[in-house]
């Protein structure tokens, strides 16, 4: 039928244009990069096949870590205010309670061995450069000792699930630098301090699920340098599950009406579809008189 032919021509013209300005243009403007690597295969300083000893790890952590880091779940509370901690270190040092849960084991071990190379921040903290990363390398520890620390951190990490885990992971992994104003959350490191420390104020992430989209965040959080070379954001080393929790939290806050949108959408489309059918039947009746 002629009308279908016209519709097909219009659909083809619109389809070609759409392909050009959306998928194709995006492909040109945002070329694909290496897939996210949640095993952090580039880090090989520590033999992570060694089984860690939790008790020895506890001794090592208490001797080496808690001078700067709180571990609230193990009873080591934060001793300075956020402002004082930021003034002392540049940024509030992370509480290590959930480190064993949210960070990949291989990443965590290699981070302890040498933070800067694990974070992919050697452009910001070159060896012998003017600025040094606040945490020293523990490359004098043996691989066994490092794995003991990792085992201890994994043992103290609280088990959380569901939406609580989403927020907890965000707070622990992102919340020292990034505010989330739509959740009324302010980064724990004070604004001026974090700006001085990072070189620019880290963005508020309230709308990042919309402005960056899940696909980009998936790659970016895993390794920021791949998508934004030279950024001062570190590779934080989240395991895949923790990263999904962070993205889920960003969606809960940034796109809180998603579920409502999708269910209302189906009903509205169904309603309109029924309208179209009734309109067609009415049209047939009316036009049968004039044809």
């Amino acid at each position: 039928m002629k009308e279908f032919k016209i519709l097909a021509i219009i659909a083809a013209l619109v389809g070609i244009t759409y392909y050009g300005i959306e998928p194709y243009a995006h492909h040109i403007m945002h070329p694909e990069v290496k897939a996210a690597d949640f095993e952090f295969k580039d880090l090989k300083n520590v033999d992570t096949s060694l089984a860690g000893n939790i008790d020895n790890g506890k001794v090592l952590v208490e001797a080496n870590c808690i001078a700067c880091h709180s571990i609230e779940k193990a009873g080591h509370l934060q001793i300075m205010s956020n402002a004082d901690a930021a003034a002392a270190y540049g940024v509030v040092p992370p509480d290590l309670s959930s480190a064993g849960r949210i960070y990949d084991k291989n990443y965590l071990a290699n981070f302890i061995f040498d933070p800067v190379s694990a974070m992919h921040l050697s452009h910001k903290y070159p060896v012998g450069g003017a600025k040094a990363f606040p945490m020293p390398s523990y490359n004098w520890m043996s691989p066994q000792e490092i794995m003991d620390v990792v085992a201890y951190l994994q043992s103290v990490a609280p088990k959380v699930a569901g939406k609580d885990a989403h927020k907890a992971t965000y707070d622990a992994a992102c919340g020292r630098c990034h505010s989330m104003s739509y959740a009324k959350f302010e980064a724990t490191t004070p604004k001026d301090a974090i700006k001085a420390y990072m070189g620019a104020t880290p963005p508020d992430l309230s709308q990042y699920i919309k402005s960056r989209k899940e696909h980009y965040l998936h790659g970016f959080i895993n390794d920021p340098q791949l998508l934004l070379a030279g950024t001062s954001m570190p590779r934080v080393g989240l395991n895949e599950k923790a990263q999904e929790e962070v993205i889920a939290y960003m969606e809960e806050i940034g796109d809180s009406k998603k579920a409502e949108r999708e269910s209302v959408g189906l009903w509205v489309m169904l309603y309109t579809f029924v309208f179209a059918i009734l309109a067609y039947l009415w049209k047939r009746k009316i036009w049968s008189e004039v044809h």
Binding site: T17, I21, P203, S206, S211, L266, V290
Partner: protein
Amino acid sequence: MAEFKQADSLYEWFDQRLGIDKFVKVMMTEYWIPKNINFLWAMGVLLTVMFTLLVVSGIFLLMYYKPDINMAFDSVNYTIMQEVGYGWLFRHIHAVGASVVFLVIYIHMFTGIYYGSYKKGREMIWISGMLLFVLFSAEGFSGYMLPWGQMSYWAAYVITEIFGGIPLIGGDLVVWIRGNFYVSDSTLTRFFMLHVLLVPLAIIGAIVLHFYALRFPHVNNEAGEFFDFDQEAEKYLAGDKKNSKVVPFWPVFLSKDFFVLGVFLVFFFYLVFFHYDFAMDPVNFDKADGLKTPAHIYPEWYFLWSYEVLRGFFFEIAGISGKSLGLIAFAVAQGVFFVLPWLDRSPMVKPANQRPYFKYWFWFLMVDLIVLTVYGKLPPTGANAWVGFASSMTFLMLFIALPFITRAEAKKVGGK
């Protein structure tokens, strides 16, 4: 004053005073539309519905939107999208509707070009329609600034900057438009006024003119046939509905439009709920920052073809800078469709496929506009810049060639 007899019913009471019977006849039941039409003739009704949806959703948004650079972004993305009940629905309908309305406008416009519905008495329909296109463009552009995202800001910056290229007054003009030396709070507030008051008023006026302009030359039909509407209407009213070449606007014409509208709305609402990125660019969910230029700046898709004509001229020719050439070409592109009825020198009012030369011109134009649109979005580097230049030149050449092509066509068909 005429003498009024006692009304027997409420209807009669109103009819005496407002002439309802007569009005309904003139506007609906005896407003005659050709019978020989296809679904492309429903685009006008689709546009009327879309405009209504935009006005209604806009009124709801207006109740919570704040035209202030410190509050605009959050009033849209937090208050409206997350706090107000169904605020997200109105925002999505408004944003997606603004984009889709241009799709329908383009279909409507190129239907008019394809069937030759702009000449031989229909010039004012065409001109009032083009006026609506320009007004909708102004409405789209001013509205896009309101969420105060990165693309709102930078597209506004780039587009207002264009006026700076106008000789002598350019610099002052840009400041006058922005109300400041850069895109700022004053720019946002005045664009808000334009978007919610002045331009919509002008659009409503232009819609009335457009509808009125249809009355005397009448709507074209699929074959481009001229016939006596009064005679055909008489035939219809006498009961010979099957042989009459016309149908009344209500209920016959609208019954078909409602069906087309229904199918269109399924598609539209699919976009509103499930596929809206093309109309709500992710970049615009970053708050405007005058110190941070996005890697790629592009206008909304419906402006891309003219934007590409503007930037297609990227080098100096005969001592005239690329910027000036682009601006001239851009100005021509904005105006040239208005004079289409006079560029087409052929008397034929027929679908393009029945016109020996015009059909090539039409499809060439379609292809060129699609190329311009796609390359208007791509970064203008390397070969892309040259494709842009070639397609911009092609666009201009097509309109320069049109009078010659159509004159040759007139000669060939012998004035028919």
